[in-house]
């Protein structure tokens, strides 16, 4: 295939990928969008195969490799429970990062095949692009593995910090930058592998200090990195499809990180430096917790309140995902609807462990998406609502964010659940949420605490509604 024709077809791949993302502007067009994405990918693979010099032996191995990957990927896609989506995405990011590293190493050892010059005599521009691609790829790889382990529970979700951490990271960052520059004059393999090792190490180090509930930012950020890594390799290979895709994915992840940071009213830097929620709960607030009275109730009380309400808003959070309570919740809502109660769902941008996490779980439980609302669209409705049912959310409902400038979560946009006539708060214990801040909502007169596992409590309410 001529180079011009293949370039044009790669451009079409890029356009199809843009359409794939464009389709996600509404659920109706999204499936068509995914179809465009698949078409673009098939086109890219076919064009690449037709552009290379096909060697029979290699073709056999290539087909085997493609089949192994395809079968593994297909099995994962069908088996994975929706609650595990955050760790799945983190795991997938690590694969993109590692693939970028492998391609770059391969290009380093056989630059002739990639049209980049000769071994250890690669064109200056290409070696810089390759250095950037391999470095970002390696950071994405180890960073995503740590994120995966934290989300999967293979590693503690609490931040891991040690003295001098930021200095070590800064030194490594400078080292990586210098190694890339040094590669221009000295393309020895030692320098190249040192660059890879330093990048692998920094990927690991920048994610360990970040705590579990900040994972939405981390996943989005790694999503962005995987895009920049692909773009770096795209520049090295002079491939338009990779450059366009890398740019799209890179900006997508960056926007999601921004939205998540805004949802917590924290700067990106503040999240990345980590350690949040480790030393915030002072003795002072702990003492207060013991003294203030809390009203607690059982499933029958909750069922009675909701059955006699005319409107209920449900506020789900990470606890719903952990307890897998979405199906029981849907059953409860069905029963309430039969009693002519108007029910809607309110989703905070950072509820859960990744952007849109709650929406997917509710969709899995067959909740129609037009009953699910984002913070800005529903926050005014709480004042005219009888009951708020908070299930597994905590910090995102804390009124302290609006009233106490000293609180670490001050300024964070929160759901105004306290404006409802009554609030039902499903929680296992009185322990504070991720931010380590006591939730003032627990002690309000109109709050009824339901101390139980989210799923168990919801099921009990379903029984009591009969």
């Amino acid at each position: 295939m001529s180079a011009n024709l293949s370039s044009i077809l790669f451009l079409i791949t890029g356009v199809l990928f843009i359409l794939a993302l464009r389709g996600l502007s509404s659920p109706e067009t999204s499936r068509m969008g995914n179809f465009f994405g698949i078409t673009g990918m098939v086109l890219a693979i076919v064009v690449s195969i037709l552009s290379v010099n096909i060697l029979f032996n290699n073709l056999i191995y290539f087909i085997i490799a493609l089949s192994i990957g395809g079968i593994i990927g297909g099995m994962i896609a069908f088996k994975i429970p929706m609650t595990a989506m955050p760790q799945l995405v983190a795991g997938f990011h690590s694969l993109v990062g590692l693939a970028a590293v492998l391609v770059a190493v391969s290009a380093y050892y056989s630059p002739e095949s990639f049209g980049l010059g000769a071994y250890q005599n690669i064109k200056t521009a290409s070696i810089v692009e390759m250095g950037l691609g391999v470095s970002i790829g390696a950071i994405t790889f180890t960073g995503s593995i740590i994120a995966f382990m934290k989300l999967q529970g293979l590693m503690s979700g609490s931040p891991i910090t040690f003295p001098g951490q930021h200095y070590l990271n800064a030194i490594l960052g400078i080292l990586i930058f210098s190694l890339i520059i040094y590669l221009i004059s000295n393309q020895s393999s030692q320098i190249f592998w040192m660059l890879i090792l330093a990048s692998l190490l920094i990927g690991f180090l920048i994610i360990i200090p970040i705590g579990g509930a900040d994972m939405p930012v981390v996943i989005s950020m790694l999503n962005s990195y995987s895009g920049w890594a692909a773009a770096g390799i795209g520049f090295t290979l002079e491939n338009t499809a990779l450059i366009i895709t890398g740019a799209l994915v890179g900006s997508s992840g960056a926007i999601l990180s921004y939205i998540m940071c805004k949802g917590m009213n924290r700067s990106f830097l503040n999240v990345i430096l980590g350690g949040f929620g480790t030393d915030t709960s002072s003795e002072d607030t702990k003492v207060k917790t013991e003294q203030k009275p809390v009203k607690s109730g059982n499933a029958e009380d909750a069922a009675f309140l909701m059955k006699n309400a005319s409107s209920v808003i449900i506020v789900p959070g990470y606890g719903m995902a952990v307890a897998q309570a979405q199906h029981a919740l849907r059953e409860m809502v069905d029963k309430l609807k039969k009693n002519d109660v108007k029910v809607s769902y309110a989703i905070h941008p950072v509820a859960g462990r990744m952007p849109g996490h709650m929406n997917v779980l509710l969709a899995e439980a067959n909740v129609p998406y037009d009953e699910v609302f984002e913070l800005d669209n529903i926050n005014n409705d709480f004042a005219n609502t009888d009951v708020a049912y908070v299930i597994g959310a905590n910090d995102v409902t804390n009124p302290v964010a609006k009233t106490d400038p000293k609180s670490p979560i001050f300024g964070m946009p929160v759901l105004d659940v306290e404006k409802c006539k009554s609030v039902l708060f499903v929680k296992r214990s009185m322990s504070p949420g991720y931010a380590g801040v006591d939730n003032e909502l627990f002690y309000r007169d109109n709050t009824l605490m339901l101390f139980a596992d989210a799923k168990k409590m919801t099921e009990d309410i379903v029984k009591s509604l009969d």
């Binding site: 794939a20 659920p27 995914n34 995405v89 993109v96 590692l98 095949s113 129609p368």
Partner: protein, 104 residues
């Protein structure tokens, strides 16, 4: 003076960032998880690099180190492509509108 082809690629890159910026802002927040899984799937277009590596020429005609790295990269990219698109499809199938009959 002739323009370096790198400048053209850089132009494509910069313009694509802007396209990505506007397209992604128009994505509805309820589809942010599918957005992540689909961006993940499309970034596996890095398989084009893995294909070049898999078929890179070696003088002896044997399978070279670069070829092996290429095959490994093909496996990783294929996991992502199949896994990413299929799981996105699975999620998107779940997003349904209210069925009018059922709720009356």
């Amino acid at each position: 003076m002739e323009i370096d082809p790198f400048i053209f690629r850089l132009s494509i890159f910069v313009l694509s960032i802007f396209i990505g910026y506007f397209v992604v802002w128009s994505v509805t927040p309820s589809l942010h998880t599918p957005l992540m899984s689909v961006t993940n799937a499309i970034s596996s277009v890095i398989i084009v690099g893995a294909i070049i590596a898999s078929f890179s020429y070696s003088e002896t005609g044997d399978i070279s180190f670069s070829n092996i790295l290429g095959f490994l990269a093909v496996i990783l990219a294929a996991i992502n492509i199949f896994g990413g698109f299929l799981v996105t499809q699975r999620m998107l199938q779940m997003y349904k509108k209210k069925e009018k009959k059922k709720n009356k």
